[in-house]
């Protein structure tokens, strides 16, 4: 069984860095390659979003293969919104056949957000069911329905956690369910409310979850006051405190201040017990990632043979 690079980094105890790439609303391979080249060497794996916010885009698996060919490790996202268990398990087998090892299990934003609002939301499985399905495929060589796989598969199973969604008191317990279902690593929603994130981590440590699963804290560098306001008001399950917006407003160079905030947060996250890495989601601002990673003292990235 061969491990993914991300798994090796996390097992080594080195503070991990993952990036994110939003597939294009087209079939332009070169766009995917362009962004992957920017991230190459600065992150341990790159998430490929799966029709994020229910907007139709190129397939996460296809784009995962494109970046894999460039020597960048993909972490493909799979949502429960668009496929039932037949489609999902088939796609997992296809992805693994293409050399993809990291798979992130997501529920998926409701279709009403996207550009096909009349679509039927599938949700045959929920995100926790998806985790346990992948675990069963890997550990028991069995499909959900009990049929045997003809050969084993090797996958590193990711899950997401959102400390900023409600009810807050339940969020760490829900993470525990994801761990119990079989998650190997966790990536969180983007953090702007550090105080709330730390309260969540406290509960995570109390439940001993940080010892069972590495947690990568989410970061989205802010480009403008408008972007911050948009996330504050329109993005489901996000909290952007006013002090962050005020700080950007006061700054002469908004982008530079956005980077400063991201770097400060990453440095702080490295001091929190149980945070095993950061997940930098600079979608449509990929070129800023090298600077952030360097300034946060996380460059160069480890290499394994």
């Amino acid at each position: 069984m061969t491990k993914s690079n991300l798994q090796k980094v996390l097992e080594s105890g080195i503070f991990a860095v993952t990036g994110e790439l939003g597939p294009p609303k087209s079939a332009e391979r070169e766009k995917v390659e362009h962004h992957a080249k920017i991230l190459k060497g600065y992150v341990d794996a790159v998430n490929l979003t799966d029709n994020q916010t229910a907007i139709v885009r190129a397939s996460s698996i296809a784009c995962g293969k494109i970046i894999l060919d460039l020597g960048v490790e993909p972490n493909i996202q799979i949502t429960c919104r668009d496929r039932n268990r037949i489609g999902i398990q088939s796609d997992v087998l296809g992805a693994v056949a293409l050399g993809i090892k990291n798979i992130l299990c997501i529920q998926g934003d409701h279709a009403s957000f996207g550009n096909e609002p009349q679509a039927k939301n599938v949700n045959d499985l929920d995100s926790i069911n998806l985790i346990s399905t992948l675990k069963k495929m890997r550990d028991e060589q069995e499909l959900l329905g009990g049929d045997k796989l003809e050969a084993p598969i090797d996958i590193f199973i990711g899950a997401v956690a959102n400390p900023f969604a409600d009810p807050f008191e339940y969020r760490a317990y829900r993470l525990a369910k994801k761990v119990a279902a079989g998650a190997d690593f966790i990536q969180t929603q983007a953090i702007y409310d550090m105080e709330r994130f730390e309260r969540w981590m406290e509960k995570v440590r109390e439940l001993g979850l940080h010892k069972k699963v590495p947690i990568l804290a989410g970061i989205i560098p802010l480009k403008s006051v408008g972007a911050a306001r948009y996330m504050q008001k329109n993005v489901a399950g996000m909290i952007v405190p006013d002090h962050i917006i005020d700080r950007l407003k006061a700054a002469e160079d908004k982008k530079a201040e956005g980077v400063n905030i991201a770097v400060e947060m990453i440095k702080h996250l490295q001091t929190i017990e149980g945070v095993a890495g950061v997940h930098i989601m600079a979608v449509a601002w990929e070129e800023i990632v090298p600077e952030i990673v360097k300034r946060a003292g996380l460059y160069p990235r480890p290499k394994f043979d």
Binding site: R81, N121, D126, A165, Y173, K177, G237
Partner: protein, 222 residues
Amino acid sequence: MIVGERKPLAEILKAIEPYKKVLILGCGECVTVCMAGGDKEARETALALSIARRKAGNPLEVKSHTVERQCEFEYLESARQMVEEADVVVSLACGVGVQTMNMHYEDKQTLPGLNTTFMGMPVESGVWMENCLGCGSCVLEETMGICPIARCSKSMLNGPCGGSQDGKCEVSKDIDCAWHLIVERMMKFNKLEQLQEVKPPKDWTPSHHGGPRKMIREDVKL
């Protein structure tokens, strides 16, 4: 109850355009209670259609009648004469009633005058909410009497998702997050530990996803 909403008059007018004699058939059950397709609505619809057609210079002979329960054959007989006299019937019952009519009077076409919206209940005057999808395997005992299949926008068995904020669903501030309500009610009854259990994927075969359903009870079958 089954909740419905009368189709816009323009849509009904378009559907009955080729016909001269129309029967508007109400139902005395659920759609009467939700004020969408009872006797009052049948009379009002008939009158509105009649006026609209007269204005359009294409007068319509329209009658209205209401049966006690449109979803059972035996209650449909009271309408026989009027059905036979009409060119077409517009039913203000739910989709079940419309189909029962088409099955019972197979030589006559019955058109839907209502959009059947959901199975639900009135929560206040003029407000109805959906709370059952008829999925065929009830989990309400596990979720403190709040249905995650009907009331969670993603029908999650292990919710809430990451889009739940301030007790509201990511889809709309007008929708309560069912899982938020479940967690709160679990806490109230000091049963939150029950939510630690990972619920397995749902078996959808007892639901419509397993194909159209039929129930046979040998004990009451003649």
